[in-house]
């Protein structure tokens, strides 16, 4: 029943594979315009060169710890991540509260190198370690009535300065349509570069949906609920005009206040140039069929 994502991106072949994938994406995006030199330039610029662990773990949005990019690294150290338990409830055959070990039991941790695109128009390339979400859902036994998956982040008030000065209604919540959640690209990540997940990146377990803006990839998950109604999502609640339920990376649909047509990859220094943002963050071939017949301007 569950389709497997064939993990063809490893650290040894990231560059050639990246070039290859990007060329196809660029072709799809540009149609007939593409001059060969331009395409080569863009593909080179977007080679899947992973960011360093330091970059990945010092430039974060994790609003439970504050509004600045440096707040999570500064404050997340006190978050309690062990023991950890996750409740799976709603429309599943095997509801319950599981330890992390139980949840991952029988599943093998894979490395997957994904692009990560923030709604603020910056991006990274991250070598995640984790499991495919569909495998976890299969273990829970998704009932046929389920249509959506809702996720919830831990709230540890004592150690979360952003929660104490709460403007955002915590716990942070996110959601996916069931077919998005079961897509082989969607994963629950438990580490980066083979290291345990840094707290500021959402330890001990977080969602990664590489074709959506980063805020969809909810961190430090304590609850997963299968439901038949579209669940509320935190940024959509805060500002529904700016942050939709789907929030697929889409260079053609701008954020109301800024362009989504380009992005800057973190780590290029003071003279880094922008690169074109790819449809579905470069995963168009894999995920476009999920949205067939939908108006992505309407369902942003």
């Amino acid at each position: 029943m569950v389709t497997r994502w064939i993990n063809d991106l490893t650290r040894d072949d990231v560059t050639p594979k990246g070039l290859f994938m990007n060329r196809r994406a660029v072709l799809a995006g540009l149609g007939s315009i593409g001059a060969a030199s331009l395409m080569a330039g863009r593909a080179d610029a977007q080679a899947l060169e992973p960011n360093t662990l330091e970059q990945i773990s010092t430039y974060n949005n994790f609003y439970e710890f504050g509004w600045d990019k440096t707040d999570p690294a500064a404050h997340a150290g006190d978050m309690v991540t062990s023991p950890w338990s996750i409740t799976i409830d709603g429309m599943v055959d095997n509801p319950g509260t599981f330890t992390l070990a139980d949840l991952l039991d029988g599943l093998s941790i894979e490395e997957r190198i994904y692009r990560f695109r923030c709604v603020e128009a910056w991006s990274m390339v991250v070598p995640w370690n984790g499991v495919q979400l569909s495998d976890v859902l299969a273990k829970a036994g998704v009932q046929s009535s389920a249509r959506y998956v809702a996720f919830e982040t831990t709230v540890q008030r004592d150690v979360m300065p952003g929660v104490q000065r709460s403007i955002i209604p915590f716990p942070y919540v996110e959601g996916l349509r069931l077919d998005e959640a079961q897509h082989p690209l969607t994963m629950l990540a438990t580490g980066i570069y083979g290291e345990p997940m840094p707290n500021q990146n959402g330890a001990p377990i977080r969602l990664v949906v590489p074709w959506k803006y980063g805020f969809k990839s909810i961190k430090s998950i304590v609850k997963i609920t299968l439901t038949d109604t579209q669940p509320p999502t935190t940024w959509n609640r805060l500002n529904s005009r700016e942050y939709g339920f789907y929030s697929n990376v889409n260079p053609e649909v701008d954020h109301p206040r800024w362009s989504q047509g380009s992005e800057r990859k973190i780590g290029g220094g003071l003279f880094a140039s922008r690169q074109e943002t790819l449809m579905f963050n470069g995963y168009e071939e894999q995920v476009a069929h999920l949205y067939e017949g939908m108006d992505l301007r309407e369902d942003y």
């Binding site: 206040r257 800024w258 003071l270 003279f271």
Partner: protein, 208 residues
């Protein structure tokens, strides 16, 4: 009307009267250069362009607020920093210019995008309008201009500071994602300082 012992104010004024204003330019230039150096060498984190843009913008706003404080400070405490106001204003302008240049040359880095972004993004339109309003003020911040324009006209022209600073405050609130505290603190301080002036103008009109 003094909320401050008069002899203290006079003591402070004796010191400030002897202090030159030019170090403000020097400190401003040094600070701008230091931030740029930090950006070059990793001191502003892994995304230095955005960080530098923010820092220059914030310093500009801080200096503009200090500029707005000069008059109320004199009214309420008798301390006069009037002789530093030109240096404060010009240094603020240079930081706005640096903020604008980081945005155009490093952040966007394509000329065609500049006009489009100014037109299409309201928060940028507003920030740019504030910058444009400050240009004539920077150009006329010298004794020759005061003489040529006449003190009355010059003073009227320089009241453009008020809308410019207000636009800066709105620009800051509008550009951030979510609801961090800082932009609202700046906006609160600026609106407060401007309201003081509205009250003074009313009172002056009533007296007249």
């Amino acid at each position: 009307m003094t909320l401050f012992p008069k002899d203290w104010a006079q003591a402070v004024n004796r010191v400030t009267r002897r202090s030159p204003a030019w170090p403000i330019y020097l400190i401003g230039a040094g600070w701008a250069g230091w931030l740029f150096w930090l950006g070059l060498t990793g001191g502003l984190g892994p995304e230095p362009i955005n960080a530098l843009e923010r820092r220059y913008g914030e310093v500009a706003l801080q200096l503009l607020v200090v500029g707005l404080v000069v008059t109320p400070l004199r009214v309420f405490t008798g301390i006069s920093l009037l002789k530093f106001r030109r240096a404060l204003g010009l240094t603020a302008f240079f930081f706005v210019l640096a903020h604008f240049l980081v945005w155009t040359l490093l952040d966007l880095s394509t000329w065609s995008a500049i006009g489009r972004e100014i037109i299409r993004r309201p928060y940028i339109t507003i920030g740019f309008a504030g910058f444009v309003l400050l240009i004539p003020l920077a150009v006329t911040s010298n004794n020759a201009s005061i003489k040529r324009l006449g003190a009355g006209t010059w003073r009227k022209l320089h009241q453009l500071t008020y809308p410019a600073v207000l636009l800066g405050a709105v620009h800051y609130i509008w550009l951030v994602k979510g609801y961090p505290l800082e932009p609202f603190l700046y906006a609160g301080a600026i609106v407060g300082l401007l309201l003081l002036r509205v009250r003074w103008v009313r009172r002056q009109n009533a007296v007249a």
